[in-house]
Symmetry: C2
Subunit: 282 residues, 2 copies
Amino acid sequence: MVLYLIGIGLNDKKDISVKGLETVKSCDYVYLEYYTSVIVSTKEELETFYNKKIIVADRNLVESKAEETILAQAKKQKVAFLVVGDVFSATTHIDLFLRAKKKGIEVKYIPNASIMSVVGIVGLELYKYGKATSIPYPTGSFMSETAYDVIKQNKSQGLHTLCLLDIKVSEPTPENLRKGINKPEPPKFMTIKEALKILLTIENKRGENIVDANTIVIGVARLGADDFEIKSGPAFRLEKADFGEPLHSLIIPGNMHFIEQEAIEQWKIKTPQRKKNIENDE
Amino acid sequence: MVLYLIGIGLNDKKDISVKGLETVKSCDYVYLEYYTSVIVSTKEELETFYNKKIIVADRNLVESKAEETILAQAKKQKVAFLVVGDVFSATTHIDLFLRAKKKGIEVKYIPNASIMSVVGIVGLELYKYGKATSIPYPTGSFMSETAYDVIKQNKSQGLHTLCLLDIKVSEPTPENLRKGINKPEPPKFMTIKEALKILLTIENKRGENIVDANTIVIGVARLGADDFEIKSGPAFRLEKADFGEPLHSLIIPGNMHFIEQEAIEQWKIKTPQRKKNIENDE
């Protein structure tokens, strides 16, 4: 009958829209996609809030078993598919959308906040961001340099870069999957510290002065939540800063207008007391 | 005491988040910023829904009179400042945020959907968009070519471009303002038709084959609403298509992956019956 694709926002259960909440309450089945992002409310809290049983949808269910579950049900009944943040940031949801439409299922979309627009709070103009990129965990000895290249390209045009940091939420490792073992690993969220370490390692190797120890960067954590954290400063300082709980993202500014500079000034990381000595050390 | 900056979403009164609605209901003053975007609910509908009186904030109030209104009140009481879509897409709200913080006012941000992420529904990957741009109405004989240049730059890297189309919501003309006449003009929203006409005029002048009559473009209208419209096809066809009510935006794709191509295929504009003849005409 209908497949509702509903963004539930970035932080907790109350970030869903009024329309989204009314819709979830009216549905026969409620799926929660929980592998491309996370929020602080637990599944149980959401179930109480919606007064609905929630089926957690992992990547395997959405990508390989949607036919016999979500789509089969949506043929005859009302199915809600909840996504943390907004719906169409991840390709896999476009795919679900297309598959549902091909089956003649009506698809409705209820949007919500996404990291792509919420970073606006930092004060760098949204339309001055170039291509976004992501920084994945190195796999074995392989460290992707894509992010470094994207930052380089954006900087050459004076544009800012938003780097989304890797998330591994309860997925089996590729090694285990190959062995047929579907045992999920504990969730893992890349920190700003880890991301900067990766970028500085690549800088060290390539030496193109794209992101070095003194480059001004901006770390953001838990945007959209009350306890959000934003810090700006040279990479070597932010690499030592603690941003607390996930999710973290990293912004590499391009050329800044003076209003943008004034805006990021407010997030300037506090220098330690023994400033002089510490700077001499480095 | 507190200034709440609250995104109310893109379409109607029920797009506000549950948290946003609870917050508005708890505030002493409720401002609605209504000059950088619009939604279909009227002020009166919003007032009934919130059970609050709404003060409409025009550009003049926010940019020149915030001190003695919004900020003075937020010093002592709870003030909600509602923005259609998300809050920080427009520079002017960053400015309000900074001014409030400087005065020692606590500022809280409740995010919502923005056109910058909702375009994801089209099926072009969000992270493959380059810099966004806007297409303004020509003023007198001056037609800005910025959008054309941004599209050119993005295309050279294979990236998509989101073009936001001009909005004039109840603002006085610059001429009248200079004369001290604060009489608002009727609202005006650029259509996809008008935007394409501008781009094709620039193409005609510069001849760099950035957006010509046969370039595949995507028009989107009322994204986030039930009656949203998306059409893809050559510019000369979309220039003749009717997208209905505002808001309209225009997307110029860069290089497309086959999944992106498949996705935009579903929005392909229907060719008129007398296809052959019409094509011969052109």
